[in-house]
């Protein structure tokens, strides 16, 4: 059986949960069951379905959105934060199970920009709106849109690139990071798939695009007078292709189309993207076998479907390889996975009051930044190192500074702290009842909590036993738990009965949240 053949094993919580965690920011059992109940094919179809564009963020001062204003905001920094909060809110959505937010984040990591550098919340919003509009569409079309997107033009200085003063910044990243990728450096300036000369020629093709400070913030404009009208001769890496210089108002778009046709006709471009897709959804290590059995066939499929993304995602997410035991639980949660999965599993709804919601989302954004994943402000144009830095990849999320910060968040939802509003302290008694049919049975309770909190990596019996004896009962007799729970249920308002059960559950959850298994998905 081929690795990309449809998965035929059991469609149970383990496998449906794996699909859920890798394609959304959710992990709770109630969502796992939704995917399990409809079966593999329908689950993937549902996740890949097109989604309507969400409403844009609203300025609390006016009750209106500002993102289409024709002039920049005063004090724009606070609006940049509002766009981030708006996006985080989308990740929190539980009203539909969709891959759209993970795909939008994938594109943000792939065509990375930094809001701080773009320096205009309107452009920052429209960049994200553009990414999600094309997120499940066509890679070539998306690349075209990204290239002339105002936020990207500003971020990589494309708006400063003119015939008289070429700026190579975007032309370089377009090839190094966004399409074909760097091969081995065969000679100085020759990166196998393209050369320094090709960077210069592509920069000439890309001359003339401007971002107007005042005007429609969703589009750039092309100024033919600033465009390099000469022919652009590419190197042997691109078959010595010549892009004919053009004049007139469509010169920029026409030459760009030709440039992308040239780059996307190279087989390496499809491979480069599929590797990134694989590292995003499956695992970071790509050995020779993965290269030949997964990457190459998916790259062929991508080319056959003229760079439509959905067919590739569909095959990958239904494949036997995706559900291989080696891949389930082998990914360390990214900070955004960690935050949104933890909060939604704890069952905290987002506040309906705009002010409270903003306060919560801003607090969570600060934690995400401390955990080294500040959405819309990745460290560089290469995105987050967890997706490209060999040999550690996802492990880079975890070090002696970030792991304690993860603990601090889970401690906060158990005990409270200044990090989050007080309404985000978990009612552990209610949580135990929601999570387990029989919370008075310690073994059942721990098994159910495990299934809810760390389903990707099963605990050993020894660990479960430790949790019962040494943590829940702190060295006491485990059978006493049934009595403690029964006493609480009989007198739910009695402070000492309630406190006895609550304190034991808090200790148990604190320890479980700090277990390494909780970091895996």
């Amino acid at each position: 059986m081929g690795a990309l053949d449809r998965y035929t094993g059991p469609w149970d919580e383990r496998h449906a949960g794996h699909l859920l965690r890798r394609t959304t920011f959710l992990s709770a059992r109630r969502f796992v069951r939704q995917l399990m109940d409809v079966g593999l094919d329908a689950a993937v179809e549902q996740l890949l379905a097109d989604q309507p564009t969400p409403d844009p963020p609203v300025d609390p001062a006016t009750g209106q959105t500002w993102v289409n204003n024709t002039t920049p905001q005063q004090n724009d920094a606070q609006y940049r934060l509002m766009v981030k909060a708006w996006w985080l809110e989308q990740m929190f959505r539980t009203d539909r199970l969709s891959i759209i937010e993970k795909m939008t984040l994938l594109w943000h990591n792939y065509f990375a920009t930094e809001a701080d550098t773009i320096g205009d919340s309107r452009l920052q919003y429209h960049h994200n709106a553009m990414l999600r509009r094309y997120a499940l569409g066509n890679l070539k079309e998306l690349t075209f849109r990204v290239t002339i997107d105002p936020g990207m033009l500003r971020y990589l200085n494309g708006d400063l690139n003119t015939a008289q003063k070429p700026n190579e910044n975007y032309a370089r990243e377009l090839q190094e990071l966004f399409t074909i990728g760097k091969g081995p450096e065969r000679a100085p300036g020759d990166y196998t798939h393209y050369t320094e000369h090709d960077v210069q020629q592509a920069a000439r093709v890309l001359t003339g695009w401007r971002v107007l400070r005042n005007g429609d913030p969703s589009t750039s404009v092309f100024n033919a007078n600033l465009h390099d009208r000469g022919d652009k001769q590419f190197s042997a890496a691109y078959g010595n292709r010549v892009i004919r210089g053009r004049t007139g108002s469509t010169a920029g778009a026409d030459e760009l189309t030709e440039l992308l046709d040239m780059i996307f006709s190279q087989e390496e471009t499809a491979r480069f993207f599929v590797r990134k897709l694989y590292r995003w959804f499956v695992f970071y290590h790509i050995d020779e076998r993965t290269e030949s059995e997964i990457i190459e066939p998916l790259a062929q499929l991508l080319r056959q479907s003229d760079y439509q993304i959905k067919p590739v995602l569909s095959v990958l997410l239904k494949s036997a390889h995706f559900y291989d035991d080696q891949n389930i639980g082998a990914m360390i949660k990214s900070p955004l996975d960690f935050i949104v999965m933890t909060m939604t599993t704890a069952g905290f709804p987002l506040p309906t009051n705009a002010q409270d919601k903003a306060r919560l989302l801003n607090a969570l954004l600060a934690i995400a930044a401390a955990l080294q994943q500040n959405p819309m402000d990745p460290p560089s144009v290469a995105g987050w190192p967890a997706y490209y830095q060999t040999p550690d990849y996802y492990r880079l999320w975890i070090n002696s500074a970030t792991l304690p910060t993860r603990y601090a968040l889970t401690d906060t939802i158990l005990f409270g702290s200044r990090q989050l509003p007080r309404s985000y302290i978990l009612d552990v008694l209610a949580f135990a009842e929601r999570t387990s049919n029989n919370p008075g049975d310690y073994a059942q309770l721990i098994a159910d909590l495990e299934q809810e909190l760390m389903p990707a990596y099963p605990l050993t019996d020894e660990q479960r036993d430790y949790l019962a004896r040494s943590v829940l009962m702190a060295g006491g007799q485990v059978y006493e738990w049934a009595q403690i729970w029964a006493t609480y249920k009989a007198n739910p308002t009695d402070p000492s009965a309630r406190g006895a059960a609550q304190q034991r559950l808090q200790n148990l959850l604190r320890t479980m949240f700090r277990m390494a298994e909780f970091q895996l998905m």
């Binding site: 400063l160 700026n167 910044n169 082998a330 792991l403 603990y407």
Partner: protein
């Protein structure tokens, strides 16, 4: 660049690495000036602070070549600094106007500048070039370990297995921040511990129960789990000693505010002064990728680059001021690095694009002060309009390892993967390195010397007062080989018998501690 040019531009300053095997050992032991062993004890106290300038620092506007000012104003009109504002440090070189604090340190003899540092075929991608600087690889070589990680691996073999222990109670390296640098990556694990603030680090970590382990299978998820457990374990093990060190010392200098680099260096000063035995600290400051708005449109002495260099300059000066007040300034050397310099010509956006060579700064009382190398030529450029290289950055690394840490040629070869000619950046003779002075009049007598491994050995020494005596042997890398308690010995002349350590033939230092007395001798094992 051509090999011939390389030799031409560097030859006056090249010093061959000290080749231990090339000298008769007996002669070396008598000549302290040549004797790298003399530094051994003090090298274990020596600390290196790496300051990463993220984004590619514009070297030409950092150290401005006064001998080529007309070219300078011609090729980079948008960003060139006015002559009247430049901070002159030599006849031919001046610092950026924002660097007055570093100018002051330079005048105090605490700054060495190495000109024109790069590597052949500089890669103009931030990521790749940063990796090359971190791993000390060739431009076309991909390494997964960092240069400092490989060096620390020689001092802490098999790390993290078996650490912390009595001889190595603290993490080999500490990074202030939350992203672990590739430079500290060792063969098995990162040699560094990342933290943002010692107290918070301790408070959070303190509540973890690590007793839940369970077997880890040899699978992908199992490997990730093992990694997580290792980070958890190391964090717990080191959190106490780091907090203790931080609590033990207080900063004595006033650091600039709104300066993230100063905030980081402040923590480093406390940890060193508090006795943390980490050998390397890594701090960083970002924003040097000045494609646009490097300078203010109306005043080129202002703008992004000026702000960043001002922060660097003020933070480093405050740090060394603090170290001096804390009495530890001779134990610390700091060094800047950045993935590349910037293009000679400025661009139309008041900025500069990615370039090649740039100066590196080495700070401290133990540096050989001044400028190493010559001003880069602004006219003899490579094909891409970039500066020619004068020094390979790995020469600087090798020099630091050899001259500051006393790394021997074998170690250097292992860490740097090939021989790089060193540059005299750090003082190495006894006249310039402050040694802890023994209070006893006589030196440590050792007989027989040379000795065979494990054979009886007599130590002869004089004590000013009765004291408990302890003897240690270190190898040439400063690694502790054995430690033994001799017991209580009376005042006056003593003779005691011990056994020579069981080591392969080589040179060891023998250190005898008794109360306030410290005696030292060199032992050759046959």
């Amino acid at each position: 660049m051509k090999r011939r040019d390389f030799l031409k531009t560097t030859s006056p300053l090249i010093a061959l690495p000290l080749v231990l095997g090339g000298f008769p050992i007996g002669a070396m032991a008598r000549s302290r000036v040549l004797d790298p062993l003399w530094q051994i004890l003090s090298t274990t106290d020596r600390v290196l602070v790496l300051i990463q300038l993220n984004g590619g620092n514009d070297g030409i506007n950092t150290v401005v070549p006064l001998d080529q000012l007309s070219t300078y104003y011609q090729v980079r009109p948008q960003v060139a600094l006015p002559e009247s504002k430049l901070l002159r440090i030599t006849e031919t070189a001046a610092l950026h106007p924002a660097m007055s604090s570093i100018q002051r340190m330079f005048n105090d003899g605490m700054v060495a500048i190495v000109q024109g540092v790069a590597y052949p075929n500089t890669n103009l991608s931030h990521f790749r070039s940063t990796d090359i600087w971190m791993t000390a690889s060739d431009y076309n070589q991909y390494l997964s370990t960092g240069w400092m990680g490989r060096y620390l691996d020689t001092l802490y073999p098999n790390y993290p297995t078996g650490y912390p222990n009595d001889n190595a109670p603290d993490p080999p390296a500490v990074q202030i921040g939350a992203v672990m640098a590739l430079a500290l990556q060792g063969p098995l694990a990162s040699m560094g511990l990342a933290l943002q603030d010692p107290q918070t680090f301790y408070d959070i970590i303190n509540g973890t129960q690590s007793s839940i382990t369970g077997g880890i299978p040899d699978t992908r998820p199992g490997h990730e789990l093992a990694y997580l457990r290792e980070v958890e374990l190391k964090s717990q093990q080191y959190s106490t000693s780091i907090k203790e060190a931080a609590d033990k010392a207080q900063n004595k200098a006033t650091y600039p505010t709104n300066n993230t680099l100063a905030d980081q260096l402040k923590i480093v000063a406390r940890l060193i002064a508090g006795g943390l035995q980490s050998r390397v600290y890594l701090v960083s400051i970002g924003g040097f990728d000045t494609h646009s708005a490097q300078v203010d449109t109306t005043d080129t002495t202002l703008g992004t680059h000026a702000t960043l260099l001002g922060r660097l300059s003020d933070a480093v000066a405050a740090f060394f001021d603090d170290l001096r007040l804390l009495g530890i300034q001779d134990r610390v050397v700091a060094m800047t690095f950045s993935e590349f310099g910037r293009r000679v010509a400025s661009n139309a956006s008041n900025g500069t694009d990615h370039g090649t060579a740039a100066p590196m700064f080495v700070f401290g009382t133990q540096v050989i002060p001044g400028i190493h190398g010559t001003n880069p030529s602004l006219t003899e450029l490579d094909n891409n309009g970039n500066l020619q290289m004068q020094y390979d950055f790995r020469q600087v690394y090798s020099s630091i390892l050899a001259q500051w840490y006393g790394a021997d040629p074998t170690t250097l070869q292992k860490v740097m993967l090939k021989d790089f000619p060193t540059i005299p950046i750090i003082r190495t003779s006894t006249t310039s390195v402050e040694e802890p002075q023994p209070t006893a009049d006589t030196e440590l007598g050792i007989a027989p010397n040379p000795v065979a491994p494990g054979e009886p050995l007599d130590l002869m020494f004089t004590l000013p007062a009765a004291a408990a005596v302890e003897v240690e042997f270190h190898d040439t890398m400063g690694r502790l080989i054995t430690r033994s308690d001799i017991g209580y010995m009376p005042a006056g002349t003593n003779r005691t018998s011990i056994r020579a350590p069981h080591v392969a033939s080589g040179v060891l230092t023998c250190t005898l501690r008794a109360g306030d007395s410290l005696l030292r001798g060199t032992l050759i094992v046959r």
